[in-house]
């Protein structure tokens, strides 16, 4: 038995800032001090505070070390692990208050969170099935197989009010009920782990930190609908998640928690992994199933819905990773417990990936109904550099922007739809006054134009035409008529596209038009970008009275657009320089070079 556990984050965020080197150094130093039988080093999943990675927590003290460097390790091992003196200097400073150390759960980032889907992330070793079992893992599967009928299971999920966490928010229990009602010799349970929204990494963290939770839930779903085979469709771009899933599946096999005759009840269930080929459209349910079948990932018309004819034309349910991560808890703690969290129509919690202009970039899980203000300014720690909040983007390329006036709307599926955005999978990108909303819309449209599979015309050509109009506007060639044309085209694409990708692709344009029309008008009428982002509308100028005539900018200019003038400002020794706007390529090199802040853009 170890007296101390050192947990090091092995999620993608911390791994990319070298947490695995830290693990090796820790083990080396612990051995050097002869503590290898007393102190255990565990690589866990994501703690959520990715901005402060690499993260390391020492128990039983619960000391939270952030931004750990390899060079700090010898000191932490000798001082903390050997001598019991916490290295306060290296702790996350929010946990240190007047020289006393407070619990991590009392910090602003964690206090308002409620971890259900992420309950094991940062606690267990995801590569050890025993750790998961210690946390009541597979007990829900045991309960379901020995005490409940499939109808009971479906009723429990229905009563809990759980809705799909992948974006659309369809009631999970209902999905299961439809699939259970269809008789077939074979049915399938699929897991959508093809998380593709820019800035979203909730599912990745669940898979990396708690892979067995997904396996267990899929087996429960299999029992509920009468399926014996499951498929997890996971992005190939998530190598750590893929590896941990593979380990988890083989461990579950070893323990007989997957395979034949589970718990001696005669129930068989197995899970196979399928790696995505990098297409965004494969996150759409019908494309995903087509891709599992080995065909090109393209959507097909619905109906028939997957519950009737899904994978290989058999009744299929498809749920997202985060949805599954809630299932075992609902079975163990009951539908009422789950339904006690959240709002009237959106129960439970939701994981959000915070990104963009926010201090605490990372992963948070909050009860539904929490306001955006709480997420951004309390949990997220506000906007860096004292900048002003402009909007938050939810739902990625399918979602929209939420402006400041809606900061106090309680976040749930229906409220977000009402204000023109959507829950989406949970990416939440914060934008400040330096973000141009036309540029943001253009960014997402570029993404959907790239990712449109091309099967249906409204999406393939419609999004392309939309993007062309946005490009014209950001280049200063827009007309006021374009705004109406864009809006009309948006509604046309939404109404006529084959799948969810096209049906939601215009949302970023519609929502920015709704809340930030004035920015569009500035681009079109004034030929100005108010946030000073759109390159072609920028003009760099040298303040001739501030210029000391050093000529640094002229030497840096790649377009030879800067030349000396015959004006010498009073008190200056050399003549000032000026920019020829015809030749200027707007790279900004001159502005970065000038030490006298004589160059401005606008």
């Amino acid at each position: 038995m170890y007296r101390s556990n050192v947990l090091v984050c092995g999620g993608t965020g911390c791994t990319s800032s070298n947490s695995l080197t830290i693990v090796n150094k820790l083990k080396e130093e612990i051995k050097r001090m002869g503590l290898q039988d007393e102190v255990n080093v565990i690589t866990t999943g994501c703690f959520g505070l990715c901005a402060l990675g690499p993260i390391m927590v020492v128990y039983p003290e619960g000391s939270f070390y952030s931004m750990v460097k390899v060079d700090d390790i010898p000191e932490i091992v000798e001082e903390h692990l050997l001598k019991g003196r916490i290295v306060t200097r290296l702790l996350y400073q929010e946990t240190v208050e007047n020289d006393t150390i407070k619990s991590l759960n009392k910090t602003a980032f964690y206090e308002k969170q409620k971890r259900v889907a992420l309950r094991n992330c940062g606690v267990i070793d995801p590569e050890k099935i025993d750790d998961y079992i210690a946390q009541d893992g597979y007990a829900a599967l045991g309960k379901v197989l020995t005490e409940m009928t499939p109808e009971d299971v479906i009723q429990t999920i229905l009563d809990s009010g759980l809705r799909g966490r992948g974006g659309a928010g369809f009631p999970t229990g209902l999905k299961w009920k439809f699939a259970a009602a269809n008789d077939a010799d074979q049915k399938y349970v699929c897991c959508n782990a093809d998380e593709g929204d820019p800035g979203a990494f909730m599912d990745r963290s669940v898979l990396e930190g708690d892979p067995h939770a997904v396996l267990e839930a899929m087996a429960i779903a299999g029992y509920a609908i009468g399926a014996s085979q499951g498929y997890i469709y996971v992005r190939a771009e998530y190598p750590i998640a893929v590896k941990r899933l593979q380990i988890a599946i083989s461990q579950a096999h070893e323990y007989g928690l997957l395979g034949e005759d589970i718990f001696g009840t005669g129930f068989n269930f197995d899970i196979k992994l399928r790696l995505g080929a990098g297409a965004f459209v494969c996150g759409e349910e019908t494309s995903l199933m087509t891709s599992i079948e080995g065909k090109r990932g393209e959507p097909r018309p619905r109906p028939p819905f997957p519950a009737v004819k899904g994978l290989y034309q058999k009744p299929t349910i498809l749920n997202n990773v985060e949805t599954y991560a809630n299932i075992a808890q609902i079975i163990l703690k009951g539908a009422d417990w789950f339904a006690s969290m959240g709002t009237e129509k959106s129960k439970g919690t939701k994981v959000f990936a915070l990104g963009g202009k926010i201090n605490h970039t990372g992963l948070v899980e909050i009860p539904m109904g929490t306001t955006l203000r709480e997420i951004v300014f309390e949990i997220g720690g506000g906007i860096p550099n004292g900048k002003k909040f402009k909007a938050a983007q939810t739902g990625g390329p399918s979602g929209g922007c939420i402006p400041e006036e809606h900061l106090d709307v309680p976040i749930d599926y229906d409220n977000l739809l009402a204000i023109g955005s959507m829950m989406g999978s949970g990416g939440l990108i914060v934008m400040d006054e330096d973000n141009c909303m036309v540029d943001v819309a253009k960014f997402f449209l570029e993404f959907t134009v790239d990712e449109s599979c091309g099967k249906c015309t409204p999406c393939r050509i419609g999004t392309k035409r939309l993007l062309e109009m946005l490009e014209k506007i950001t280049n200063g060639q827009g007309t006021m008529e374009m705004i109406d044309e864009m809006e009309e085209l948006c509604y046309y694409i939404k109404a006529n596209s084959l799948c969810g990708l096209g049906q939601t692709a215009p949302n970023p344009v519609l929502s920015t038009l709704r809340y930030f029309k004035d920015e569009y008008i500035s681009h079109i009428v004034d030929k100005k970008c108010p946030a000073v982002v759109c390159k072609n509308l920028l003009e760099f100028t040298i303040d001739k009275d501030k210029c000391i005539g050093c000529g640094m900018c002229a030497r840096k200019c790649p377009a030879s657009a800067i030349a000396v003038t015959d004006y010498t400002a009073p008190g200056k020794k050399k003549p000032a320089y000026a920019i020829d706007t015809e030749k200027c390529v707007k790279c900004g090199a001159c502005m970065d070079t000038c030490k006298f802040k004589a160059i401005s853009k606008g």
């Binding site: 007296r3 007393e38 001598k83 019991g84 750790d131 323990y255 007989g256 589970i262």
Partner: protein, 124 residues
């Protein structure tokens, strides 16, 4: 896995390890002085003896064993302090691994302070 009993057995075995990673504000705390003076006087075997005894009795959820620095009474090391919420802190001195089972049993489990091992008894 052929039965729930099998799953439960694995769970109970693995649980002690996980309990260590949870913060329990109501847990009793065993603080072992592990500064240079403590280590020199043999605090490490004492610390490990507490961990073993508490694990053996399945009390990892209710009791945490932590190191602490020097508390200034180096001549009495190894020093162990026991804090049970709502009760006064008790300081045991010159603790040896052999004394640990008795302290766990009498004090932590049955709430009877082992007076003969405390600082009051020894320093008199």
């Amino acid at each position: 896995m052929k039965s729930l009993a099998e799953l439960k057995a694995i769970r109970d075995k693995a649980r002690a390890e996980i309990d260590l990673r949870k913060e329990n504000p109501n847990a009793a705390r065993v603080l072992v002085g592990m500064a240079t003076c403590g280590i020199a006087a043999g605090a490490r075997p004492v610390l490990n003896a507490f961990v073993e005894e508490i694990t053996k009795r399945g009390l990892t959820k209710d009791i945490t064993v932590t190191q602490t620095g020097c508390i200034g009474i180096c001549q009495y090391e190894p020093v162990v302090e026991i804090e049970i919420p709502g009760q006064e802190k008790v300081t045991y001195v010159k603790v040896a691994p052999e004394m640990v089972p008795k302290i766990v049993n009498d004090h932590l489990v049955n709430k009877n302070v082992v007076t003969e091992y405390t600082i009051g008894a020894i320093s008199n």
